[in-house]
């Protein structure tokens, strides 16, 4: 089917006005030798049969499992009003607010998003959005290089492995070194500060930024304030990779001295959708305002003195600065920033705290239930709502539980093939959507799959 309005008579009228006999004449600039071969594609599908087929395809995905999988993407309750507002065409069928006089809705919503994120992060400058947590982290690291005029970045091995892969891609021509983790003891699984200090002190290899995640990939809380002091003493910036829902209860980056915060905004009520569209967060101190990549919205006045909002400081951006721009980013994730804003406003400060603290409470229950069937935590340090547990033959057990309707988190052997010490571990998480019944079911099935005590 076609969504076009033209009747044969309309087309005829247009052709005769233009003065051509057929539409083919309009394509005469394409030389004969370069004309396309026939499009070898299926025929058009009527809406009903397409809808039926898409429903069947979606139905082949298993979203009915009791899921303990997080690893950077977290399911949260989304109040009914959120998606109803997002379905308003005035939001999702508008484009970038190039004509601010007829885009005040989008512009004010971005300004409010920047304000909400500034509250969560404790940092005053927030970009209007980036692609996702991985790309935002890479852009934050590049930003540290521009700000310090240095070319080397250190990234903790406790940063999400996919974020580290993205960093490597973006840093093709720059220097990227990994900070090892503490192997044993109460701080096991967190960034090794002794190693960090050594890396920062290497002669003739000045460091632009230090990238550490809070909570880290294993769910552990990192010594951010101390890492920040070490980085600053070496003239480097601290880039904190944050999970925004955790910021309802955890100390914000602005409080522990981070210069830049980056992260994935998906937990702010955005569905998992097998990878996106998501919401890349970047926030920074006012000192770094000229280095932040991507769009910014600021408050101003119109000719009558009415308050209004507009894209600002565009001299950083590609459409003005071209090859000298802070980044090549153009399209952003405005609709996802709106979704996150509505979700945050629907929950409010107390609701957000309830969500974060309920996840922590459920995670405590999960820890107890799994420990009772012989799956103790791998690490000893404090965590919020995600942690690793030791399970012999973790991969095979994960597989067996899947057949019994339990998605037992992430087998770390799959995500971190270069960490043999974690080959028998599962990374599991709980949120407010995790029920006590699901926890009991996980523990029971785990016991029966491993022969542990029930």
């Amino acid at each position: 089917m076609s969504y076009g309005p033209h009747t044969p008579a309309d087309r005829e009228r247009m052709l005769s006005a233009i003065g051509v006999a057929s539409v083919d004449e309009l394509f005469a600039d394409i030389p004969a030798g370069l004309r396309a071969s026939r499009l070898n594609l299926p025929d058009a599908e009527p809406e009903l049969s397409l809808a039926t087929r898409l429903e069947a395809m979606a139905g082949r995905n298993r979203t009915d499992l009791a899921s303990f999988l997080g690893a950077g993407v977290y399911r949260h309750y989304s109040p009914a009003l959120v998606d109803q507002l997002l379905l308003r065409g005035e939001w999702y069928t508008a484009y970038t607010p190039y004509q601010p006089e007829v885009s005040q809705g989008t512009l004010q919503s971005i300004y409010e998003y920047q304000s909400l994120m500034a509250e969560l992060t404790g940092l005053d400058v927030v970009s209007a959005s980036h692609y996702d947590g991985g790309a935002a982290t890479a852009e934050a690291a590049l930003m540290a290089c521009r700000a310090t005029r240095r070319e080397r970045v250190l990234v903790s091995r406790a940063v999400h492995p996919q974020y580290r892969e993205v960093l490597r891609t973006y840093f093709a021509g720059l220097q990227l070194d990994e900070i090892p983790l503490v192997a044993q003891g109460p701080a096991a699984g967190t960034t090794d500060l002794v190693a960090l200090e050594r890396l920062l002190a290497e002669a003739d290899r000045p460091v632009a930024g230090v990238v550490i995640a809070q909570p880290d990939f294993f769910g552990l809380l990192e010594p951010m304030a101390e890492a920040g002091r070490l980085a600053h003493a070496a003239g480097a910036l601290l880039v904190a990779v944050v999970e925004p829902v955790s910021l309802a209860v955890l100390a914000p980056p602005g409080a522990y001295g981070a210069d830049i915060a980056a992260g994935e905004g998906q937990p702010l009520g955005i569905p998992p959708q097998y990878g996106g569209p998501y919401l890349g967060l970047i926030a920074c101190t006012t000192a770094l305002i000229r280095q932040i990549p991507g769009r910014l919205v600021g408050q101003t006045r119109d000719l009558d003195g009415q308050r209004a909002f507009v894209m600002t400081l565009q001299a950083r951006e590609q459409h003005i600065r071209r090859e000298k721009a802070a980044s090549n980013i153009c399209t952003n994730q405005a609709l996802l920033a709106l979704a996150a804003s509505i979700w945050l406003a629907a929950l409010g400060p107390h609701g957000l705290r309830d969500v974060a603290a309920t996840g922590a409470a459920r995670a405590t229950e999960l820890e107890g239930a799994l420990a009772a069937v012989g799956a103790p935590r791998v690490h000893a340090g404090a965590y919020l709502n995600e942690f690793a547990v030791r399970v012999p033959n973790a991969r095979a057990v994960h597989r067996r539980l899947l057949d019994r309707g339990v998605l037992a988190g992430l087998a770390l052997a799959d995500a971190l093939p270069d960490e043999p010490a974690l080959s028998d571990a599962l990374l599991v998480c709980a949120t407010e959507l995790t029920t006590p019944e699901q926890i009991t079911r996980f523990a029971t099935e785990l016991a029966s799959a491993t022969g542990g005590a029930a």
Binding site: R60, Y95, E101, L120, L313
Partner: protein, 501 residues
């Protein structure tokens, strides 16, 4: 717009009152956070707003009504392809099986989505004439970065490390030179011909042993197909370089020109332009990239693979060491790609060809209406593709009214403005792209409005230079916004501490 007139809104912070709001989630036990060291906890709650549900919904409904949108009217923004966004696409992306699927879910639990992605890759490869497609890039500029990083990997894999330059026409989207710089290349800007068109001979002359790639938009940002593109690609390859095509203007050439067949080595596709995924007020988009044979080994990871038994899986980390790696987390913006897939299936081969035929027909009709009126300059008389350039240069000399003024006056007449002052190579330029989904009545009404504005420019210039008059706000002080940046609101009411439970 609202029946009682557009209403500017106080910020959501200004509407906050402590104690308002709805409990959405039960309160957790009081000791929920007791096991976390005090120095890791926040000392005061974030200053988020507290609103009742009616106030919150009205805030966002009233804000939305300050926006112009495709759902409200004609949006002829050149190079942005603001076509109709079919409603079934929104429905499809929200199906619980698609929306609720975790991106690290085991392959066997994700077969529906993996099949959809694999099939979408085949559709896009056929449309672009490319050998293979990656769906990972999150936007057009992200796709450009993927493409140029693959070009870099290709040259380095051949031991050809001296290629340091990327050639870009000065009429290119700003993302092209910015991408080349981000990938570590020096951008060489190739000046356009005096009439603003791409100078193919200057390109050929600039090619050499230092050239890694050229980046070119075809049809060009002037809405013209480069007839000599074949010769240029041949010269590029003879110089040992590769040819990148910016696919922003793919909506003109579906079924008529396959860039891969013509010799392009790599191109990106903007699903939010050609394949109807909504622009969302600036995003999200998706920027799949198609590559020819030579670049297949370097595609970003993970690829979607089909096994001999007909099942699908994601490539594993490190499985293909030649890959340039990841450009973002996970496989891609799947929710956007579901919409693009629905769009492609609903059109089929014939429907897609009709899209481009109708888009080009509509652009030429509109161009003809304006040319015939004499109200504006039409710098390129020949047939255009899916968009065309008009200019207010003569009008400005006669009346002092600039393109910017014309754009603002169009808002009063119920239309979004075209893209203005792009490309930078045309004086007082307007890039007008009607798309295939607008009726002849709408095209006529838009032409009439533009012609009337030219008349107003002669008779009552202040009507145009002071426009808009009917929009929610008048022209803004943009310089003031940049001089003293105010980028965030501050909470006006203190937050109760602790939680009142």
């Amino acid at each position: 717009m609202s029946v009682v007139g557009p209403r500017l809104q106080p910020t959501i912070f200004e509407q906050s009152r402590p104690g308002r709001g709805v409990a959405r989630v039960a309160h957790p036990p009081k000791d929920a956070l007791a096991r976390i060291p005090a120095d890791q906890l926040r000392s005061a709650p974030p200053g988020l707003p507290e609103l009742s549900e009616p106030d919150l919904v009205r805030h966002y409904v009233n804000l939305s009504q300050l926006n112009y949108a495709v759902d409200a009217g004609f949006y002829p923004l050149g190079s942005c392809t603001m076509k109709w966004n079919p409603k079934i696409n929104e429905w499809a992306a929200r199906l619980p099986g698609f929306a609720g699927l975790h991106p690290m879910a085991p392959d066997e639990t994700a077969q529906g989505t993996l099949q959809l992605l694999w099939e979408l890759e085949q559709w896009l490869a056929e449309i672009s004439g490319m050998r293979a497609v990656t769906l990972q890039p999150a936007a057009g500029a992200h796709g450009e970065l993927a493409g140029i990083l693959m070009v870099r990997a290709y040259h380095l894999a051949r031991g050809d490390a001296d290629r340091t330059e990327v050639l870009v026409p000065d009429s290119a989207h700003g993302t092209n030179p910015a991408t080349a710089a981000m990938a570590g290349y020096t951008t060489v800007n190739i000046p356009s011909r005096p009439d603003g068109a791409v100078d193919i001979d200057a390109f050929r002359a600039a090619l050499g042993p230092r050239t890694a790639a050229i980046m070119i938009t075809n049809p060009s940002t002037l809405g013209l197909f480069e007839s000599r593109i074949g010769d240029l690609i041949e010269a590029v390859h003879a110089a040992g370089a590769l040819a990148y095509m910016d696919g922003a203007n793919l909506n003109a050439i579906l079924g008529r020109f396959k860039p891969g067949e013509a010799g392009f080595d790599v191109m990106h596709i903007n699903t939010h332009k050609t394949f109807s995924t909504p622009h969302g007020g600036g995003g999200p988009g998706a920027g799949p990239v198609g590559v020819g044979e030579r670049l297949v080994p370097f595609l970003p990871s993970p690829r979607v693979l089909r096994e001999p038994d007909g099942t699908f899986r994601l490539e594993r980390t490190g499985e293909r060491p030649t890959s340039i790696g990841r450009l973002r987390t996970f496989v891609g913006s799947t929710g956007v790609l579901v919409r693009a897939y629905a769009y492609l299936c609903s059109h089929g081969a014939a429907g897609l060809a009709e899209v481009s035929d109708d888009a080009v027909l509509a652009a030429n009709y509109l161009k003809h209406r304006l040319a015939e009126s004499g109200a504006y300059d039409i710098p390129f008389a020949r047939h255009c593709m899916h968009e065309f350039i008009a200019s207010a240069a003569t009008l400005r000399r006669a009346t002092g009214v600039r393109t910017l003024d014309v754009a603002k006056r169009l808002l009063d007449k119920g239309f979004h403005a075209p893209t203005v002052y792009f490309p930078l190579t045309v004086e007082e330029g307007m890039l007008i792209e009607p798309t295939e989904t607008e009726s002849i009545e709408t095209l006529d009404a838009f032409a009439d409005a533009l012609i009337e504005i030219a008349r107003e420019a002669h008779d009552h210039p202040e009507l145009v230079t002071e426009a808009p008059h009917g929009a929610p706000v008048r022209r803004l002080d943009e310089a003031g916004a940049a001089r003293q940046p105010d980028l965030r609101a501050r909470p006006t009411a203190p937050i109760d501490t602790p939680c009142p439970d």
